[in-house]
């Protein structure tokens, strides 16, 4: 029997689920390998009977927490799908303020409506594994669609999904890119988890470590490099927090494994 797979989403842009559609013809092969029983974005059919739950998005409110827990109870395997689910996403930057301050900035004139309203109950961004056990992580903003297929196939074959644990610099060197530090740019590549094929430096962008850090990042050395290349403490903090506010807020906070 084919394993039953269900997709779910919480606070996110849904860009990671979009990468499934972006598999183009391959999505038909995926549909042959597994039984997709729930995928709200693309299908009306829904079932609560599933083996693998693939979850995009970060958890903002108690009502989201409850929904996540009920998914966890039903699923044999739970996969955190993308930077929001693995790390809390860019919206984790909002945790630098209290939820009251955020609500006041975005909804300045609606205090009475927000009070005692479950939709606005202390929203702040958390990764899935701060609430439930996560079995596997598919990092990235967005996820890499080919990595998704590799992970799914590995799971079906009973292998450990192959997520790299070396820095983006390794892939960037393989691409024969000129190091961004030598052309006046700054980059999180030395500490960022690879697997993206160094897609940002390859396209003239700077790595922001959207896939999180490697398990043992040389954070101090990297900070010294950023200082050496002229970044102020505020600028260094900006680079580290864009996707990894989780690690800045909690030194003990786990990496995606």
């Amino acid at each position: 029997m084919k394993p039953k797979v269900a997709f779910f989403d919480f606070a996110s842009c849904e860009g990671c689920q979009l990468q499934i559609a972006n598999l183009e013809e391959t999505v038909l092969d995926v549909a042959n390998l597994v039984d997709i029983v729930s995928f709200r974005e693309v299908m009306k059919e829904h079932s609560n009977d599933y083996d693998i739950a693939i979850i995009e998005g970060s958890i903002m409110r108690p009502m989201d927490e409850e929904r996540l827990k009920s998914i966890r109870e039903r699923a044999k395997v739970l996969i955190a799908f993308g930077a929001c689910a693995c790390l809390g996403g860019v919206q984790r930057l909002g945790n630098n303020w209290s939820s009251g301050e955020n609500l006041a900035e975005v909804f300045p004139t609606s205090k009475e409506i927000i009070a005692n309203n479950p939709y606005f109950d202390n929203p702040h961004s958390r990764a899935l594994d701060e609430i439930v056990k996560v079995d596997y992580y598919l990092p990235g903003c967005p996820i890499d669609k080919n990595e998704f297929v590799r992970v799914l196939v590995a799971l079906l074959q009973g292998r450990k999904p192959p997520i790299p644990d070396y820095p983006v610099c390794v892939e960037c060197k393989k691409k024969e890119n000129i190091c961004l530090f030598t052309i006046g740019k700054h980059c999180m590549g030395p500490v960022a988890r690879a697997g993206c094929g160094a897609i940002c430096p390859t396209n003239g962008g700077e790595c922001e470590a959207c896939r999180g850090f490697v398990s043992y990042p040389f954070d101090k050395a990297h900070t010294e490099v950023l200082q050496k290349y002229g970044l102020s403490p505020e600028q260094i903090m900006n680079r580290k927090t864009m996707f990894n506010n989780r690690h800045i807020h909690s030194a003990s906070g786990g990496n995606p494994k």
Binding site: V90, N102, E105, V106
Partner: protein, 432 residues
Amino acid sequence: MSSIHVHVEHLTRVEGHGNIVLNAQNGKVEKIEWQVPEAPRFFESFVRGRPYTELSHLTSRICGICSIGHSLASLKATEAALGIKISEQTQMLRRLALHGENLQSHVLHLGYLVAPDLLGKDSVFPLVATHKAEVLKIVKLHRLANEMSDLLCGRTTHPITFAPGGFTKVPTEKQLEEVRNRLAYAVPDVEAVAEVILANAGKLPAFQRDTEYIGLVSKKEYALYDGDVGSTDTGKHKVDDYKNIVNEFLVPHSTAKFCKHNRASYMVGALARFNLNYELLSPMAKKWAGKFGLKPKCTNPYMNNVAQLVEIFHSAEDTLALIDKLISSGVKEEKPAMVKLKAGRGVGAVEVPRGILFHDYTYDAKGICTKANCVIPTNQNHMNIQLDMEALAPTILNKSEKEIELTLEMLVRAYDPCISCSTHYLKVDLKK
């Protein structure tokens, strides 16, 4: 008499979470509500304190499907605030990127999300068995639109190459020519898919409700990247004056920021653009509008689907013309324009697949964002969806609950709502 209760929790085949509630008793509608319980993410709050170089990368994350449009609205706001001028080539490449997004989004919506309704299926997967040739054509077009976006943006979702003042990497003439040729060969596939939609267009309900239509307008072109704000009711307005157009407001017992301009609601998106800018559509787009009997001003919101199809033809033809122009003038390896920091405020507007999008930023003298506001197309449409439902529901109560549900779902789906984007829209029924 019977009572009818339709409660669609988490409407499917749309982006984000939305609920439809209809209660009717003895042939009278007691409650009809379009609710959006999506969690707020506070983009406008957390971008405060971030440097101008980051804004387009952060705000692209508002929406996976419209990330190219969000990036461009963001860059235009930043460039307006800091007084950055962009080259003619950058303008053309951005227009191409926007066409790429329009193509991928419209193909996805029509091919994967709407077609199942027209062909009586619950999703695209059963269509693979019954309409394999057409599904494969849709997949092929989707791939082409995505690869065009990859080429211009570095990747399809969350552009990498976009920077204030230009591109960090420009495509080569050879790469552009390849896209051009593939697209030219794909036009017959678009026509084949359009024929299938045409053959089933009778399934789109013949509902009409006149409203105000708002979108970018320009004398020069079918406005997507640039222009003034146009309204079918009140004519032209300046983009900088957007707050007087969107008029975000709150209603009692609701947390939503609604938008209204000249009437109780207005509509944005492909149908609004079509109604405002029909004359400037490409020849094939006009031809296909004619085949569907689509004429401005069309007041049937279900025809937004057909307006999207018409725009697929327009974007394809305009892409071919733009690439020809780029190649004939020669693609240069330009660096983004130099930026001289200064304090200021700027507003950027672009048309994204679902309608007009505004970003508005204020920067301090160091280029750090101190205030941000984003007005998303789906937010602008929510009130119009609600009023459409109020007008439509009483006319369909004689149908079965299943048919009522489908008719209402198809209405919301026609707007192609992007609910994750609409950060403010949260309508709550607080009555217990």
